[in-house]
Amino acid sequence: MPPVSEKIASLRHLLASRFPTLPRRAGRVLASGIPAIDAARGGLPLGGVTEIVAHSPSSGAQLVLSQLLSITRAQRQRVVLIDTTDCFDPASLPEDHLVHLLWVRCQNTTQAVQATDLLARDANLSLVCLDLRDAPAVDLRRIPGSQWYRLQRATEPADLALLVLTPHACVPSAEVRFLLPHSHTLTTMNEERPILAAGLHATLDRQRRAMANAS
């Protein structure tokens, strides 16, 4: 009797021959505007899930988001922010950086994940950002692993970058995971944002597909 892996391989082969699809153009990324992230991976992978873990308070996840809004605005791409705990402050950003943004203000984590599931399937979007940083830990534990893989599968065929901001690593299907280990200090309150972005520390914690293979 053939082993299970062989059976799965043959099943995959059968599915691929029955339902052929265009090969996915791998290696495409959305530049983030954060040098530490762009240097490590070129940006956020399109057709994949990126997780940014904000371990400590004021570690710069919102700064990453603001840089992404700035970059996507310049490229006139559409962005969605799914705000689990309604924490986004539009007044912190230039008004022009908001015109391409769709802000979804959710009441709970379940709603946010459902909204992400809907939006990940829309062909008009370039970036979907799910902000789970202040979501209750119980709610995060309750999100089944299959849900994350479902989101990954929804993102895969599209030109969409799915970014998940979390307080700790909890997205098993993330293609890339960055950690933001350091907190800002009060001295940064007088610095310009491009300078803050340039100095932001982001360490690559996971990379499921090597760039060489992907391209």
Partner: protein
């Protein structure tokens, strides 16, 4: 040349096409105008089960226990008639509503070599709309009608004498008394009658005989009473049984939209808006107006738009009738610019927005727009733009400080002071020793309105354990307003 589209048992088919999964079920239409209701039309399944015309309801049900008993429904017939006309307009702009289920088409100027294909497509289209039809093509309207009635699909009469000769006398719709006399004389087909001299028939039967002889010889060409193409794109339906679930309602909407979309395509128009009115059993009326993100005549998009909205609706009572109207516009013809960043799939985006609105509430989805006020957190949500405009010229000075993450509402906080300096923060999300703090920032506004005036003092603090936060002092009470991130 003329063509006739014929829908046999029109009243019965009109009723059956409005029901879900009724295609293969034995069904009979009962004439409810008399004291005793009798079968006046049956479908093939009922015929195979032994039901016959003229039977009473108990007799018919005794033969076929699963028989679906239908009564004529004028609204369903009107909708089926409109569907028949819509398809007939694909053959020619000059059509006539000759009788219920009979539509005569003047084929003058039609492309005759392609006519067979066009007529076959028309029959297939009617089948898709739930009507089984046949078609006849001939020199006269009457001949075309005979041809349509005597075939299962499509018949073109090329040799009139050969075609007419074997037709039974009953096909000429003569009076029963006259038919009885002719049968006694041994005249049973059109050929038998037309073999006799016309004058002799007139001498014996008068005008009635002449009319019959003319009908048996195929009649002659005549001007049609034209049907005017629809100027409005509306459909209405009253239900025999009120609807309590979405599935049968969507089935009906699909049927109606099929026809309306086809009407729009024939008129070279597209729909910009959908107006749907549902009349409930308790006489309430619910009205829904949809503005399509991009005008279209595609039935599936129109249906999806309705489906998305209706699946989140719960009515107080079941639905008794509906009225549907499409607002037509000319299709937008334009070429997409290379750098244009409009929506790739406008209908998909509108549907996603509708689903999101149903999930989180319409007031919680949109593009944030800062209000022209000094009041903090003065933001409103607006509908997303269809096309993203080019970016504005960047300001000379880039924004400073990390962006704020706002706690809505702010958390009440308690501060400990050492001397006049804050040294410790107590609050629900975070507590800890304050390492540094900024100078105060005072703001106020709308002081001229007693109920809207506000005044606040802000501090930025850094905790020893890490994290920069904004503190608020409002009327001697401290709050944690947000975290700089």
């Amino acid at each position: 040349m003329f063509a006739v589209l014929h829908v046999a048992d029109f009243a019965l088919q009109a009723v059956l096409r409005t029901g879900l999964r009724l295609d293969n079920r034995p069904a009979a239409l009962f004439d409810d105008t008399r004291n005793k209701s009798l079968v006046c039309a049956i479908n093939s399944s009922a015929c195979h089960a032994g039901v016959q015309l003229g039977m009473s309801a108990p007799q018919a049900v005794a033969r076929c226990p699963g028989l679906l008993i239908c009564t004529p429904r004028p609204a369903a017939e009107a909708e089926a008639r409109a569907t028949l006309h819509t398809v007939a307009f694909t053959l020619s702009p000059s059509i006539e509503a000759t009788a219920p289920g009979v539509c005569t088409v003047d084929l003058r100027g039609a492309n005759l070599p392609r006519l067979m294909n066009t007529a076959t497509e028309a029959i297939a289209q009617l089948k898709q709309f739930g009507l089984t039809a046949t078609a006849g093509i001939a020199r006269t309207p009457l001949l075309a009608l005979y041809a349509a009635r005597s075939t299962q699909t499509l018949q073109w009469v090329r040799n009139e004498k050969e075609f007419l000769a074997p037709l039974p006398m009953a096909a000429a719709d003569a009076s029963p008394a006259l038919l009885e006399i002719l049968r006694n004389w041994g005249l049973v087909t059109f050929g038998d009658l037309t073999a006799l001299p016309r004058d002799a028939i007139i001498r014996r039967f008068g005008a009635e005989g002449l009319a019959l002889w003319n009908r048996a010889s195929g009649g002659g060409p005549r001007p049609l009473i034209p049907v005017i193409p629809p100027q409005t794109f509306t459909a209405a339906m009253e239900f025999e049984h009120t609807m309590e679930t979405l599935e049968p309602l969507l089935f009906i909407l699909n049927r109606l939209l099929d026809r309306l979309a086809f009407d729009l395509i024939n008129a070279h128009l597209v729909a910009a808006e959908i107006h749907l009115t549902l009349r409930l059993e308790n006489e309430q009326a619910l009205t829904f107006d949809f503005r399509l993100p991009e005008p279209t005549a595609r039935n599936e998009i129109l249906l999806r738009t309705l489906h998305t909205r209706l699946e989140s609706i719960q009515t107080d009572s079941s639905i008794a009738a509906l009225h549907l109207e499409l607002t037509p516009v000319r299709p937008l013809v334009r070429q997409q610019g290379i750098f244009e960043t409009g929506l790739r799939d406008p209908h998909g985006f509108a549907e996603t927005l509708a689903r999101l609105s149903a999930l989180v509430g319409p007031e919680n989805v949109g593009t944030p727009q800062l209000e022209n006020l000094h009041r903090p957190d003065a933001v409103k949500l607006t509908a997303p733009l269809a096309v993203i405009p080019p970016p504005a010229v960047p300001t000379i000075h880039a924004p400073i400080s990390p962006p704020l993450r706002r706690f809505r509402p702010p958390f009440p906080a308690r501060l400990e002071f050492t001397g006049d300096q804050p040294s410790y923060l107590w609050s629900e999300p975070v507590s800890g020793e304050i390492k540094h703090h900024s100078k105060t920032f005072l703001s106020s506004g709308e002081w001229w309105q007693a109920d809207r005036r506000w005044q606040r003092t802000e501090y930025d603090i850094e905790l020893a354990q890490g994290g920069i936060y904004r503190l608020l002092l409002i009327e001697h009470a401290w709050f944690l307003e947000g975290e700089y991130d």
